[in-house]
């Protein structure tokens, strides 16, 4: 089915790359921490999401299959 973009909040240090690389999916709160999309990632944005996952300096993101 779809893929969900999730963040491990204990690993996230608020680098903010995800919001720069995937602004359609991720926005930053007033403290610089990412707000994940609550809907699954649309297929067209999957590549962008994947890039955010690999580029996160804290390795805090994951793209997981939604049952």
């Amino acid at each position: 089915m779809g893929k969900q973009l999730r963040v491990d909040p204990t690993a996230c240090a608020g680098h903010g790359l995800c919001a720069e690389l995937a602004p359609e999916l991720v926005s930053l709160d007033e403290w610089g921490y990412p707000i994940m999309p609550d809907r699954p990632v649309p297929r067209a944005l999957e590549r962008t999401a994947r890039r955010a996952v690999t580029d996160c300096p804290a390795l805090a993101l994951a793209l997981t299959r939604v049952p």
Binding site: A11, H15, L17, E20, T54, D55, L59
Partner: protein
């Protein structure tokens, strides 16, 4: 053209690519510190810092490969393939080349683990990545001794420049780390920041004592 035979060309190529590799590695280490401390390059977005760190490190691998291969191929000195990865077994300047071999081993570990980042645990990847702080000084040591290039003139200037730049970056990184609030104190720090005069003192017309919001310890009980 006199003086430059094919053999000499290989030797020059090895030395030249060696210098370039050192400069690139210095840039990579500095950028790495910048990424870790969430520093920015003026005018560039955040992903540029990470991107440059990764791309320059891959570029340095290319130059490192040419540096090593030309050094082996060159008939002027005997080094041998094994000595480029196993330290201190080279017939030619075993110590200085050994430093280079060690540095190369570490760089290989860094590059390979970073390419396979998603497959390993976060803690494992980070522990190995710390070896970067060993790989760079080993490369500097190797540069100083394996040829006389960097011991005088412009090349010496380049070497000194790299060392100064890296040390400045390290000092910056350490000072930023020293100012970082440890995990256990983060919430308290945010609270203190929002209430700089301490917990609000409630007084009449509230008819609540001044230290109402303090814990027993803070109120000195």
């Amino acid at each position: 053209m006199t003086g430059i035979t094919q053999a000499t060309a290989l030797w020059y190529a090895s030395r030249a690519t060696g210098v370039v590799t050192l400069v690139l590695l210095t840039a990579v280490v500095m950028l790495g510190m910048l990424v870790n401390r969430q520093g920015r390059l003026p005018g560039l977005p955040r992903f540029a810092v990470t991107g440059l760190h990764r791309n320059i490190s891959l570029l340095s691998v290319v130059f490192l490969a040419i540096h090593v291969l030309t050094a082996i191929a060159d008939p002027y000195v005997t080094i041998g393939l094994a000595a480029t990865v196993l330290p201190f077994i080279s017939p030619y300047k075993p110590f200085w080349l050994g430093l280079g071999a060690l540095s190369l081993d570490l760089v290989a570990a860094l590059i390979l683990t970073s390419l396979a980042r998603a497959l390993m645990s976060r803690r494992a990847w980070r522990s190995i990545h710390w070896l970067a702080y060993a790989a760079w000084p080993l490369a500097v040591g190797h540069s100083i001794g394996s040829s006389t290039d960097m011991q005088s003139g412009v090349m010496l200037g380049v070497l000194v420049g790299c060392v100064l730049a890296a040390c400045t970056a390290a000092a910056w990184r350490l000072s930023r780390a020293a100012r970082e609030i440890p995990r256990a104190g983060r919430a308290a720090a945010a609270l203190t920041q929002m209430t700089p005069g301490g917990p609000p003192r409630l007084a009449s017309p509230g008819l609540v004592p001044a230290d109402y919001l303090m814990t027993a310890q803070e109120a000195g009980r």
